[in-house]
Symmetry: C2
Subunit: 339 residues, 2 copies
DNA sequence: GCAGACATTGTTAGCGCTAACATAGACGGC
DNA sequence: GCCGTCTATGTTAGCGCTAACAATGTCTGC
């Protein structure tokens, strides 16, 4: 690299060094045809030599494309959303886009609007919103200033392109598995009512019971955290309402439940068969190892970006169809369900 | 909002609507003094009316400031880095910056360089690198194209501004607590050798033992994952080398260890007192509840951005001092250590 | 009532890049 | 050998914004 003359080199400097016009440099940079191989080599050498870097702002100004995708994520210690974000990032970068991220402290429609506003100021070309909650989904415009929006993890959303995991199918598989083991019915500790995933898991649980003609008690609603799983499970035991099988809406609450059962002398799986959801890395090492439902978050992120890029390329024509991609969930059987 | 005439309104449109020059619009937008209140109101009304949004590329082109901070994160299911990222995001947004994120699939120096290159192309003003591993730290230039770099979670780094948790202090507190309970020595299951945090925890463990004049067996090295905790703990039991107290370098491996002990009929805390590290949300609900060391990741993120912004404002003058901020860790005593 | 300071607004000139058009030479067919 | 076509390159004109300077008024003190 040549020592810069006090400021960053610009295209004109490269042009001068290579003995061509700045336009030819631009052509080389953008892979235009009709540049002599020898000229191209000279330009590339000059670029290398000067340590030239194209100015993205100048390019964006004239092309009207920033190459940035905005992501709205929820600030959460939850396993899923965090993994989804990295899936999105990899897919976006592979496609040559930059990623601008905003996280929400609270899932209110207002915060979603603020977040998208922040991203709009940066002139992002499109949005991916990780929207596991109804309130997030509702705060979301469909086209934010002409830029397309894709919801991820946003259950059965509005007329909006959505990519999500088949929560209902996963829940159904879990409950059917428990019923198949001979349980008369299966109880349910659900996630918070506002969460679409929680709702879909309730629906899957209910559907599996209905299909089997099994009775369904009202589910108990927790908040995803271990504490609520602990308390709700303890309540079931104390009130003598503990079913022979229990489907808990996520692994964290399932851990809480395990603990409550341990404290109360209720054996898992002998006295109660337990199934969780998420397949966190620890799940296989709980006592007993937790049967659970695994989700492919990386795939969700990839498809989310895929749908967005399609929309971007088609100029929104594809939005008519309101793509709805469903990634399958997978039951992982371990000891906690008794087989 | 008035219907746009087919294209996004620009500053000149606002100026026309408000009956002023575009420069006056610019002044209003940038909060310059010397604009009559009445004029300002007219301009703001026109902006609102037209739904005008300043073009960030054009502004960046002339000011040479993009307002973007680049973050290099590691792609990981680990609890800490994910939380740190959201801490960084909140602090950056509060300061009026945008955040561009790149995640690494693998912590190699090459990937770090690629990531920073990607961000440089976007003309970020500064970098925050979440660098829990030595290889990440080493792949990191100090000033990337004139932009300052701050390492976060990067243990005892090079002459680079660093913000990290007092891993050594946390480990030391944990081990001292165990020794204080009457144990002759404390064993250690460590994290991977390449990880600075793992190294610091080993150092803290060793130091506490030395200070107490207690013997130190060689630590066993895991990979942070539950499985390795399980296998190493099992090995200790099988080989009859299990100490009365064990410090495990993170909660995930501690869960694996708990499971191994359960399988082998080793009681916690009666036969072995156990302490983990991280304080994941589940820790209080393991059987027995896990004594562990909590880290304030949000604070780490905030301080990381704080240091970077200082550097940005001072034009790097502050880099001389190579800031090194240490966030304290906190021992959380639960049942697994026996008191 | 007038100089000088100050407040308010307008005008001009780029920032670094790409798109569109202009130009000049090379080539091939008849 | 001349014209049309194609290839390789240069020239010009902005993209939308801010900084610098210029040009007005407005007010103060004496």
């Amino acid at each position: 690299m040549a020592a810069p003359p006090g400021r960053m080199p610009v295209m004109a400097d490269v042009a001068r060094a290579a003995g061509v016009s700045h336009q030819t440099v631009s052509r080389v940079l953008n892979g235009h045809p009709n540049v002599r191989a020898e000229t191209q080599a000279r330009v590339l050498a000059a670029i290398e030599d000067l340590g030239y870097r194209p100015n993205s702002s100048a390019r964006a100004l004239v092309t009207r494309r920033t190459g940035v995708i905005g992501v709205v994520a929820v600030d959460t210690a939850h396993y899923g959303p965090a993994r989804t974000l990295t899936g999105i990032e990899h897919a976006a970068r592979a496609a040559g886009y930059y990623l601008s991220v905003v996280t929400l402290t609270e899932a209110s429609a207002e915060q979603v609007r603020d977040a998208m506003d922040h991203l709009a100021r940066q002139a992002v070309e499109g949005y991916v919103v990780i929207a596991p909650q109804r309130s997030v989904l509702e705060g979301m415009p469909e086209w934010a200033g002409g830029a397309p929006v894709v919801a991820v993890e946003g259950g059965e959303a509005r007329e909006l392109p959505v990519v999500c995991v088949d929560q209902e199918g996963g829940a159904r598989a879990a409950v059917r598995h428990l019923l198949g083991l001979g349980h008369r019915t299966v109880g349910h500790i659900a996630g918070p009512r506002d969460w679409l995933e929680a709702e879909a898991r309730v629906a899957g649980w209910r559907r599996a019971l209905e299909e089997a003609g099994a009775p369904a008690a009202e589910p108990l609603y927790g908040d995803w955290r271990p504490r609520s799983g602990y308390e709700l499970a303890r309540r079931l035991v104390q009130e003598g309402r503990l079913p022979g099988a229990l489907f808990v809406a996520n692994d964290q609450m399932a851990v809480g439940a395990l603990r409550a059962f341990g404290d109360a002398g209720v054996r898992v799986p002998e006295d109660v068969a337990l199934v969780g959801f998420d397949d966190v890395p620890e799940a296989a090492y709980y006592a007993p190892p937790l049967t659970t439902v695994a989700q492919d978050f990386g795939e969700v992120g990839r498809r989310g970006i895929g749908v967005l890029l399609d929309l971007l390329e088609s100029g929104g024509a594809a939005a008519e169809s309101a793509a709805r991609e469903v990634v399958p969930a997978r039951l992982v059987v371990r000891a906690s369900c008794g087989a």
